[in-house]
């Protein structure tokens, strides 16, 4: 966290669609300059939260603010938004679409044109500026979409499932762009299922399930909250049962133990040795976010995600 005032403030947000209660009670803050991950399975309310934050939906309950105010396009903050449902004006030329969005985002025509031309050059589409969008491949359209998202050098970049449908080349381009925006001081709020992206990029995260927060904090805090330390042991001899650990997985020579709260690792090692287990490797580790995700959402939810 690099600032004390939250750039995004969600306070007791609730959202109903008819009788369906999509978000029950959600509160979180995104601080200026940080990269924040909004995680959850399908239907957990992530996109609804983003849409309510951006004023596309009216919240049923609670307050959602950006820079201290309910968001409207004219409040003045430079926003870059890559929605889950992607699209561009398909019958228009690439340059016309980019310049139009640039102008809507406050750039003058010349700046929007110059930025667009430079960007197209940078992503290898310099020769496509006069071609209509529907003549581009889906990968090329994704590049244009990304360009449109960041062309106003956004203070707040909101990415809803940013890598969804992206090919590996564009995924890397996206990651580079996010990195670059972070370096420029942008605050990034991303909705994703990709835990490796979260671990790589996010400073803090919130995990939603059934319209409420199930975990909220830095990646490390969430790991601590959900994941007792695991120990991967290579051994000869049978691992004895004990109160100080739980055997998660075991085979003849490889086992994984989950350390009970308050237990010292040295005590466990001593216990194993004293029980006659020949320990050749003793590797403690934290639960990965992937494991935590599976634990929270269960196998059924995970299948849905996949």
């Amino acid at each position: 966290m690099s600032g004390a005032t939250p750039l995004v403030h969600v306070d007791h947000f609730g959202m109903d669609f008819g009788k369906k209660n999509v978000i029950r009670d959600l509160s979180f803050d995104v601080m200026a300059g940080e990269t924040f991950g909004l995680l959850g399975s399908n239907g957990s309310g992530k996109t609804t939260t983003i849409r309510a934050l951006l004023g596309i939906y009216l919240p049923t309950r609670g307050n959602l603010q950006i820079n201290g105010r309910a968001f409207r396009p004219e409040i003045g903050i430079k926003l870059g938004y890559l929605p889950e449902e992607r699209g561009l004006y398909k019958k228009e030329s690439v340059i016309d679409v980019m310049v139009y969005f640039g102008k809507l985002k406050g750039l003058n025509r010349d700046s929007a044109y110059k930025w667009s031309v430079d960007y197209l050059e940078q992503v290898g589409l310099a020769d496509k500026e006069k071609i209509s969008v529907d003549k581009l491949s889906s990968g090329e359209q994704q590049k244009i979409q990304l360009g449109v998202t960041i062309m106003n050098n956004p203070e707040l970049l909101i990415l809803d499932e940013p890598t969804k449908g992206f090919d590996p080349v564009n995924r890397r381009l996206l990651m580079n762009l996010i990195d670059a925006q972070k370096r420029l001081g942008s605050t990034v709020l991303m909705v994703t299922h990709q835990m490796e992206e979260v671990e790589r990029l996010c400073d803090r995260i919130i995990l939603l399930k059934d319209g409420v927060s199930r975990a909220y904090g830095t990646v490390e805090e969430v790991q601590n909250e959900f994941g007792n330390t695991l120990i991967h042991v290579e051994h000869q001899g049978r691992i004895p049962l004990a109160d100080s650990y739980k055997i998660i997985q075991k085979s003849e020579s490889n086992s994984t133990l989950e350390v009970a709260n308050g237990t010292k690792l040295a005590d466990i090692l001593r216990r194993l040795v004293e029980s006659g287990v020949n320990v050749s490797k003793f590797t403690p580790s934290r639960k990965s976010l992937d494991d935590i995700f599976v634990e929270i959402y269960g196998v059924d939810d995970l299948k849905e995600v996949e």
Binding site: G18, R51, L54, G55, I56, Y57, L58, F71, R72, P73, E74, G76, L79, Y81, P83, E85, R86, G87, L88, Y89, K90, K91, E92, D96, Y100, F101, K103, L104, K105, G106, V148
Partner: protein
């Protein structure tokens, strides 16, 4: 920023529309058709004129029987005709081909038709027999009158001027009707030509999945307003292009097209009628545009919106079924219903305004109704766009719209 984005939307919408080939095909098809029709008319008129000249100068042999006693024998003789001995003889002579035509002038030509018999020369050329028979009778009678003035009256070349008064004040008649009727013409042209474009203007955002990005960069009211204004400007452009061949045709080819010489200096621009006409036109345009834009935002595709669109378009034609009542009986129940039902009000109001049967107080009510309802419908269109356009593939129910 707000004004700036409104201008951006207008320029983007106009540019993307005028870049479409389909737009220009639709735009130029009618003027080109008019040019083709005018060319054909000029050609046909010239051809008809030469045919008439040829027919006038055509010589054919004929006989006649005069039971009226009006035919001038000297005139007939000049035309190389002669009197027949009897009707059967004359008909027999035509049948045998000895003569080309035979006319029987009845005792009372004003009550009984002249019988004309002739050798068949084809549908169009056969007309010359009746023309000559009539011309002989008319010229013979005119010779008997011997007064140029009476001859002119007999020929029907008499002009008249009509002056009418309404509530003791000089009324404009047709000269006041024409300027006010132009509002109705403009309304029809805009709605018919641009209706489909109004319907699809927000469907574009929906079908292209750009709604969310748009909603985070521009206020939806500005977007919808920008679209409506650009549609209106395109409508004006379209009308100018439509009017061009008519103006050019009238200015340069009026005689060839046999168009009447219109004296525009006699047109009466009644300030009340012109003001009401303008306000009803703008209100009607805003109401229909708002409704069509709202419809487009609520429906997933243009096809789904089709039936309602068709119904709306029908509503602007329905008042014409009661045209005579609208023009002459403004107090008829059906006229009152059409005058105040919002979607028939623009056409009915403009018709009544043109015919001078829309009192100021009723005009004010119609204008207020149209403008207020337009504002409500435009707000609804904005709401529908905001909450409906992200429902990319399904129709919204009214309940969902209002509970959003």
């Amino acid at each position: 920023m707000r004004q700036h984005n409104l201008t951006n939307v207008i320029s983007f919408e106009i540019r993307r529309t005028i870049k479409k080939r389909r737009f220009w095909v639709g735009m130029l098809a009618m003027p080109l058709l008019v040019v083709v029709i005018f060319t054909l008319i000029i050609f046909d008129n010239n051809h008809a004129a030469s045919t008439t000249r040829n027919q006038k100068n055509a010589h054919f042999t004929f006989e006649y029987i005069d039971e009226s006693g009006l035919i001038d024998a000297a005139l007939v003789s000049k035309l190389k005709g002669s009197e027949a001995t009897s009707v059967p003889t004359g008909i027999a002579a035509v049948k045998s081909g000895d003569i080309d035509a035979f006319f029987v002038y009845p005792a009372h030509p004003s009550k009984t038709a002249i019988a004309v018999y002739g050798r068949d020369k084809g549908v169009f050329e056969n007309g010359k027999y009746a023309s000559v028979a009539l011309m002989i009778l008319q010229t013979s009678v005119e010779k008997k009158i011997e007064s140029p003035e009476l001859i002119a009256i007999e020929r029907g070349g008499i002009k008249s001027t009509t002056i009418t008064y309404k509530d003791g004040i000089l009324s404009g008649g047709i000269n006041a009707l024409i300027p006010s009727m132009l509002f109705l013409v403009v309304f029809y042209i805009i709605i018919i030509l641009l209706g489909n474009q109004m319907l699809t203007s927000t469907l574009d955002e929906k079908e292209n999945r750009v709604t969310e990005m748009i909603l985070t960069t521009i206020n939806p009211t500005n977007l919808i307003l920008g679209k409506v204004i650009s549609l209106f400007l395109l409508g004006v452009l379209q009308m100018v292009i439509f009017a061009l061949p008519f103006v050019a045709g009238y200015t340069f080819f009026r005689t060839d097209l046999h168009l009447p010489n219109l004296d525009f200096s006699h047109l009466i621009f009644n300030p009340q009628q012109m003001t009401l006409g303008t306000l009803i036109l703008l209100g009607g345009f805003a109401l229909f545009t708002g409704t069509l834009v709202a419809l487009g935002a609520a429906m997933p595709t243009a096809k789904d919106a089709g039936p309602i669109f068709g119904g709306l378009i029908m509503l602007i034609f329905i008042p014409f079924y009661a045209f005579s009542l609208i023009a002459n009986s403004p107090n008829a129940l059906i006229v009152k219903i059409f005058s105040y039902f919002p979607y028939s009000a623009p056409v009915t109001g403009m018709l009544r305004n043109a015919f001078g049967t829309l009192p100021l107080w009723q005009g004010v009510i119609v204008v207020a109704e149209l403008w207020i309802l337009s504002a409500i419908v435009l707000r609804l269109a904005v709401r529908l766009f905001r909450y409906g356009s992200i429902e990319y593939s399904r129709k919204l129910s009214l309940r969902e719209i209002f509970s959003a």
